[in-house]
Amino acid sequence: MSLTVDGQSQVPPGFRFHPTEEELLHYYLKKKVAYEKIDLDVIRDVDLNKLEPWDIQEKCKIGSTPQNDWYFFSHKDKKYPTGTRTNRATAAGFWKATGRDKVIYSSFKRIGMRKTLVFYKGRAPHGQKSDWIMHEYRLDDNTPTDAANNVASSMGEAAQEDGWVVCRVFKKKNHNKSFDNNSGNVSSFSSKTQMLDSSGDGALDQILQYMGRTCKKESSSAHDHQNANNNNNNNNIINAAAAATTNNNNSYLRFLTSMSDGVVNERFMPLPPLESPTLPSLPNDFTNSTDDHQDSISGGNHLNPVYHVDQTGMSHDWATLDRLVATHLNGQSESSKQMACFNDPMASNVNEHYLQLPQVLMRSSSSSSSSVLNHNNNRLLYNNIINDGHLHHHHHHDQGYNNNNNNNNNNSEVDLWNFTRSSSSSSDPLCHVSNSPVL
């Protein structure tokens, strides 16, 4: 199979140019820097300052096959003769670096760096962020990049900022929007996802899929999501969101617990575990449940372990709490405003974004106590409250309930166990429950 060169590359059907980072750096960029001939002209030279991202698509297409990403070489020129910054402005906007550069390894050896940039329309500082993303790869130059105050490294910086790079440009898929709308808009996801989720409104599935895709680079423990058979409702997400938010800065918790009157109180307080007059009787309750359990184990009169006794009452409470939380999160802006009462303005601002960005949520929750996400579903928030407050004795019931629930093969439960694992790589041994045994 031979390909026509001459800029008119003929790629056989089904094939895509989809190089690994290693191939980009070690094959293409190395050859470019060394002025070696590259077999096929698949990666063009581009003057970044003269090319708008929406024109890259046409300029850098390979064959006639549809593409999701485009590649080009770019020669970085210094913005100022004396400085080390690169000029990445175009006529319509500019590329702005985001985050930190990522080291690219090839079989454990460092071979280069990747910079992530976002295209902003307009002029700084009033640019408008777009969905165009660029990964800019440069070869490693053997200079310590972290030695900022090193004189030698400033020369290295200059060298590294002035030369050939290979870039990959793509359009960010807008998952956030579909989460925002919260209306079952799955258009930004592959149709496969829709098909696997026959309920059609699986916001959780979307996030799981999303997490599975986006976490694969960062988290080596990203695992499979058993979402094929699940019918989840959005409340799960909302609760997870609420719990994570709560866990992050406690503002939502304080919001709930501080609502001492009004309709919230009416719906909230009747929950037996929360208003229980036996509040301080932790040892008593604990002993009871232990006794019950022992009875059932030793073949006593109790046919059911204590969890079964609790389950109906508990689940009713959870449903109530679930509705409560859902009610408040539906009025998202309102609750955000409420939260602002308990936080400085900046934090509340961040808070709003947490509610909209699942990935941010998960990052923040993974840094916090993993138990929050382990006690999932409706119990998320509840656990938070009781853990934070003075109702520790109910925690035992809750654990039991969860165990029991797992035995009953509650699908959404299992799903969220995966959720937990993929986001926080929890070490909780119970997580194995969701691990489908593969022989």
């Binding site: 094939f15 499979d224 593969v438 022989l439």
Partner: protein, 193 residues
Amino acid sequence: MGDDHNINLPPGFRFFPTDEELVVHFLRRKAALLPCHPDIIPDLDIYPYDPWDLDGKALAGGNQWYFFSRRTANRVSANGYWKPLGIDEPIVRGDGKKVGMKKYLGFYLGEAPMDVVTNWIMHEFRLSDSGSTSKSSKRRATSKADANKWVLCRVFERNGGSQGSIGEEGTELSCLDEVFLALDDFDEISLPN
């Protein structure tokens, strides 16, 4: 057969066909007894191959495996079986015409009541039943039956790896990138003019 390397393409090219390409370029030609260019997708019976046995036998594209198979209702392998998930999805060509159907299947270990679900997924492509299977099937009476005899299978393990029809490594932002991107909203954009 079995990997991309028998095609002389520069580094970085991989077999990541779209659903449409699979149906139009490969399955249709196969069914019409026309040669496939490139002829890289092998014929394989589902039995007795468990999905993890496909490596080296089916065409690998990224973490996905492709093979032609005879259409059958009994998709049993050595250690399990393929069970349809959900409903079939039409494959629509660029001009809006339906060219095929896509069935989703999951691989289960064991037999029906005692089976265990795995992460292995199959996309099974077949030509449309509606006779839109190209003019050649009208020309030859026998080829119509033949057209529906073949299916094209894409098998992969659903573990956060590539699972779309086009591999998406690198064209997705990582979690960390997304966080930084979100945090940028709070920055003052301060590039020197």
